[in-house]
C-alpha cells in the first residue's frame, strides 16, 4: 500500500486548523507556577521533617549504633594462644559470623539463579 493521502480529507484537515487568540499561555503558566510552588513547599516540608527526625532521634540512634557495634565485635570463642586469637579475629566474632552467613547466602543465590 502506498502512503498517498486522500485529497478531500487532506483539505478538510487543513481547513480545520485554527488560530487561537485567548489567554491559554497565561492559564498554562499559572499552573506551571502553582506546581513550582507546590514542589518548593513539599521540599521545605521534607527538609524540616528530616531535621526534626534527626534532632529527636539523635541520641537514641547513636546509642543503638554503639551497642550494635560493640555486640558485633564480641568473640565467639576464647583462644588461649594470643597469635591464634589474632589470626582468627576476622571470623571469630558475631560480625564475622554475619559476614560468612551473607557470603553463603550470596553464593547460594548465584547458584540458584
Amino acid at each position: 500500500m502506498t502512503e498517498e493521502r486522500d485529497p478531500l480529507l487532506e483539505s478538510l484537515f487543513a481547513e480545520a486548523q485554527q488560530d487561537f487568540d485567548d489567554d491559554f499561555v497565561s492559564t498554562c503558566m499559572d499552573s506551571v507556577r502553582r506546581r513550582s510552588r507546590r514542589v518548593f513547599a513539599s521540599r521545605v516540608a521534607i527538609a524540616v521533617l528530616v531535621v526534626a527526625f534527626e534532632l529527636a532521634l539523635d541520641a537514641p540512634l547513636k546509642n543503638s549504633v554503639g551497642a550494635l557495634a560493640s555486640a558485633m565485635g564480641t568473640s565467639l570463642y576464647e583462644f588461649d594462644n594470643e597469635w591464634l586469637a589474632f589470626l582468627m579475629t576476622p571470623i571469630n566474632s558475631i560480625a564475622g559470623l554475619v559476614g560468612l552467613l551473607l557470603l553463603g547466602l550470596h553464593a547460594l543465590y548465584r547458584r540458584i539463579t
Binding site: L9, C28, R35
Partner: protein, 183 residues
Amino acid sequence: MPEAPGYYTEGPEALVVNLATRGDRDAFAELVRRRQPWIRNLMRRLCGSPELADDLAQRVFLLAWRKIRQLRQPDRFGAWLKRIAINEWVQHNRKRTPDWVADIDDLPLPARAAAIDEAIDLDRALDELPGPVRLCIVLNYHERMSHGEIVESTGLRLGTVKSHIRRGSKRLRERLSAYGESA
C-alpha cells in the same frame, strides 16, 4: 501576562529550549506561546471536544515543564512534545473510553435523520472512530507523519497502522458524506 523579552521571542527555538531546560520560566512561557496552536489543534482533532482538548494541551505543557530537564537534544523539542501529547491522549483515552480497542466495522454509520441540521464537522466525524484509528488518522493527515513515524510514536505494528489508516479514511469519508447529504 507580561510580554517575554525580545531575545526570547526572536531567538531560535533550540536556544529558548536550552534556557528552559535550566529552569527559565520565561523561556518556557515563550515555548508555550509558540507551540500552543499546534498542540491545541492536534488535541482538538484527537478529542473532539475543545474544552477537553485545551485541558489535555495544558497537561501536556505542564508535563513538558516537569520533564524538560531530561531533554538532551533541544533541537528535537517539537518531536519530544508531540510524543508527550500522544502519550497523554492515549492514557486519557484508555481510562475513559471503553471503545479503545473496538473494531471499526462494529460501529454503525451515523443516522442521517439525526444529523439534518448539523454542518459537516471533521472533529465530530473523527470522534466517532475508535481511539487507535483516530490516532493513526490524525497523525497521518494532521501531522503528515509517515506510517513508519506513526509506528515509532504509537508502538502500534506497521500492519495495524496501515489498516487503521485505510479503513479509518474510508469510514471518515462515509461519515462526512453522510453529514453532507443530510445537511
